[in-house]
Amino acid sequence: MIRFRRSISAVLLALVAGAALADTTLLNASYDVARDVFKDYNPLFQKYWKQKTGESIELKQSHGGSSKQVRSVADGLEADVVTMNQANDIEFLADKGLVAKEWSKKFPNNASPYTSTMVFIVRKGNPKAIKDWGDLVAPGVQVIVPHPKNTGNGRNTYLSAWAWAVRQKGGNDKSAQEFLGKLLKNVPLFAAGGRDATTTFMQRQMGDVLITFESEAELIAREFGKGEFAVVYPSLTMQTEFPVAIVDKVVDKKGTRKQAQAYLDYLWSKEGQENAAQNYLRPRDAELLKKYAAQFPPVKTFTVDEVFGGAGKAFATHFKDGGSFDQIYVQK
């Protein structure tokens, strides 16, 4: 019994000591594949913050599907900051009053410290000669994408194809929808998520082209070998943003605003930007972009704001029930 009590007090002591050692804890709620980026970034920030203020900071990560994460935060997950891959997810938190209405102006570059683009992955030697969006509707070409209604990856692909079609000669919304209709006829299945699409394409050898993030292409190279596929940059593609925001409600309650602000600011520092580049995300820093030019060839991009008037609007027009995607399948 005495021993039991002792061990309890030892545990309590350890808990108290642990709390005293790490002065502050920040929780970063992030999307699924951001794991690698922040695994490398967090130690960088810890070192920087310790040097600057002498405070040691504990950083916790929570990863999951982007929209799922945001719902958890809205339901009470005490995340100090959110780092997402879709603006409309942060928009949702702003609507709920957890994040500032003007969140995208609180940091430079639309609050997105780095970007990526949507690219084509084709089989070795590009046997079907796929160069641009127009080639995807050719008969016999099979296109692998994740579900556009349920995944950010799928939505980016859909919107990229739409933007390309609108910008063709005589292109308008109607012709774009027809183009998407033809493209979707060449989609034999909708993968459950980005990684599932990659497995379907690379491992199960389904389809002629996979459309995914540029950053994912590098991961495929690591996993399956560089020679197994080729990356094709279409003539126009989406610049995908990775917006970040402070969760006001949480930092005000926990008193961690200063640390949270510094944590996100540091993403724009040389170290933070270099870390992004090393994880195959295009840094905003022009110098670094030049340094990593081999990895990031120049490509003509558009942003969702330019073509669709904002992420929320794009979502409502195309992916809400009854939106343009549904209309392609349910003619009514």
């Binding site: 929209s67 799922k68 719902r71 949702f92 579900h147 209604k149 349920n150 989609v187 034999p188 299945l189 909708f190 993968a191 459950a192 599932d196 497995t199 379907t200 491992q203 199960r204 050898q205 389904m206 979502f315 992916f319 809400k320 029930d321 549904d326 399948y329 349910v330 009514k332």
Partner: protein, 291 residues
């Protein structure tokens, strides 16, 4: 001694109270909350959501595939259970343990494994596709995934019941002149039918709610291979919690009605054959002798 002292577990009142609290907290409360949330929408709106073309197609796929999977499992599960109880063969314990594996495996892993197996270049798919049988990324894949996930239900509910039927009964039926088919259809089947229906019902209801394994093999094409749980997720992606709960409530209602029907069938089959008739008498009846 008063009768209640004969009960094995003491404290009927306490146990009943515990049961009610337990069920309320764990089942009624969440489900009630869901129905309450859905009731924020009017009845008309819920019906509109449920009757949209995509929802209807998804209901057809979900319930159709689940019924088919449960039926196939009822048939093949019966055979498996019978073999496992009635015969002894080397490696029987191993096979017996195998039956539970679908319960233990995370369903997403099951889905990924099955789709790798049945894809065009998979171990099985490469032989099936030239024959024109496509499993992965078609509704067939959904049935395969559901069969995998729900197999243990039928086998595990049947095993103890089959164990209870002693082989003397079969011998008695045979000695009274019953053919093999008569013995099965009039002696054994009536005895195991209620358990078979229970297994079927459990497999079916598990299948209706299954998400993890199905989305990896279904292909998820609108109107063709989208299951209702996927539509619910899709509504949640749109932050349309109300729409999602509406679909869930409709799904729950359909399942409830179907389960009620199965329960009734079970009660009916148990009563029809039972009438307190001992199995030996059934054996006699099967052979045409007066009971």
């Amino acid at each position: 001694m008063p009768a209640k002292n004969h009960r094995v577990l003491p404290g009927f009142g306490l146990a009943l109270g515990y049961t009610l609290v337990y069920l309320s907290l764990l089942i009624l409360l969440p489900l009630g909350g869901m129905v309450l949330k859905a009731s924020e929408l009017g009845f008309g709106q819920i019906i509109d959501i449920a009757l949209s073309e995509r929802s209807l197609a998804a209901f057809r796929v979900t319930f159709g595939a689940s019924l088919l999977a449960a039926a196939l499992n009822a048939f093949f599960g019966l055979i498996v259970a019978w073999i496992l109880v009635r015969y002894s063969f080397p490696g029987k314990r191993f096979v017996d343990a195998l039956v539970d594996l679908p319960f233990a495996l995370p369903t997403a892993v099951a889905g990924i494994t099955l789709s790798t197996l049945y894809a065009g270049n998979g171990w099985l798919g490469r032989y099936l596709e030239p024959l024109g049988v496509k499993i992965a990324y078609t509704p067939n894949g959904i049935v395969v995934a559901l069969i995998f996930v729900t197999l243990p239900f039928v086998v595990r509910t049947l095993q103890p019941v089959i164990e209870d039927i002693e082989s003397d009964v079969e011998e008695a039926a045979a000695s009274l002149g019953a053919s093999r088919w008569q013995t099965f259809s009039r002696v054994i089947f009536p005895a195991i039918a209620p358990a078979l229906l229970t297994g079927f019902a459990m497999a079916f209801s598990r299948a209706v709610g299954e998400y993890g394994s199905v989305i990896f093999i279904a292909g998820n094409l609108p109107l063709i291979s989208e299951i209702t749980p996927l539509l619910i997720i899709s509504k949640l992606e749109q932050y349309d919690v109300l729409g999602a709960t509406a679909l869930a409530v409709v799904m729950l209602a359909i399942s409830f009605v179907l389960l009620l029907a199965i329960n009734f069938l079970q009660w009916w089959s148990a009563n029809r054959y039972k009438n307190d008739e001992p199995l030996e008498a059934a054996a006699g009846r099967a052979a045409g002798a007066p009971a």
